[in-house]
């Protein structure tokens, strides 16, 4: 493991201590939840919910997630290019413009199709 990364792990460990320690302390001092009657039943604004809470939600979310992955990959490609911009110079720029152009065409298609509209 490269040494520079060890502190990150130590920090993650410390961060893990927050919930562990606080929840442990809370467990010691808080009252026990009492499961009386309908007390722990989920409710919506005072009324028992109708239907399954984990029902299916719109496909819009799914489309957005896929588009996000696509665009995310695209930005990841941009990072090494941006960092090495000085070295790659004009050639790299043209390369990137072609790359982006293809995706911008895709974006415009999405825009025209209304795939980006929510409702």
């Amino acid at each position: 493991m490269p040494e520079n990364y060890v502190p990150i792990l130590i920090f993650a460990g410390l961060a893990f201590l927050i919930p562990v320690a606080t929840l442990w302390v809370a467990k010691l001092v808080r009252p026990d939840p009492r499961d009386v009657g309908y007390r722990l039943k989920p409710y919506e604004c005072g009324i028992p919910p109708e239907g399954d809470a984990r029902g299916r939600f719109g496909v819009r979310f799914y489309v957005i997630a896929i588009l996000f992955v696509v665009f995310d990959v695209e930005t990841i490609f941009l990072f090494p290019w941006a960092v090495e911009y000085d070295v790659l110079g004009l050639f790299g720029l043209i390369e990137m413009l072609v790359f982006l152009a293809i995706l911008i065409i895709g974006y415009i298609w999405l825009y025209m199709k209304g795939a980006l509209d929510w409702v």
């Binding site: 299916r56 489309v63 896929i66 996000f68 695209e74 960092v83 293809i102 199709k113």
Partner: protein
């Protein structure tokens, strides 16, 4: 060195065990969580190989992107219905045969190639600025694959939208 080896075995074990849990859990959300653990330990393995950029990309894309997509998809299916169905109905023997073939292939490749390709050592000592290296290689030596990648992304984009629409009609 001891530390490095020890951490490799720990990470590898975590990756393998959680991978097994991914396919044995019945609740898909639990599977997804174990898959996240697997991906995370693989990212750490990359890190151990001094492949920082790949490790970061693994976290951003696989965990921050694709796993979110997976969770969305899981939330789009009726979980309770899915849970009641037997998980590998009808097709378990196809899957088994495919796995067997792949395993034989893998062992064969390793066995046949044991003399020709020595496993490379991880680069020792200080880190290479490997984002820069990747930038240079990708944009100078592998220009065409890079541009093709953007076409691939375009196809993915179009595919996602068309799929959502086709099912709608």
């Amino acid at each position: 060195m001891m530390f490095a080896q020890g951490s490799f075995y720990v990470l590898a074990a975590v990756a393998v065990v959680s991978a097994l849990l991914v396919i044995t859990r019945r609740n898909p959300v639990h599977s997804a969580i174990y898959l996240i653990v697997t991906l995370l330990s693989v990212a750490l393995l990359y890190l151990q190989l001094q492949a920082e950029f790949i490790a970061a990309v693994q976290i951003i894309l696989y965990i921050g992107g694709i796993m979110v997509l997976f969770l969305f998809v899981i939330m789009l299916v009726k979980l309770d219905v899915a849970l009641r169905q037997p998980p590998f109905n009808q097709q378990w023997w196809v899957a088994g045969a495919a796995a067997l073939v792949l395993a034989v292939e893998l062992v064969g490749v390793i066995y046949l190639g044991r003399g020709t390709a020595a496993l490379p050592q991880a680069p020792p000592g200080s880190l290479q600025p490997n984002t820069e290296l990747i930038g240079r290689t990708l944009y100078q030596n592998y220009m065409l694959p890079f541009e093709i990648a953007s076409l691939l992304l375009l196809v993915a984009m179009v595919g996602a939208v068309l799929m959502a629409r086709r099912k709608a009609s």
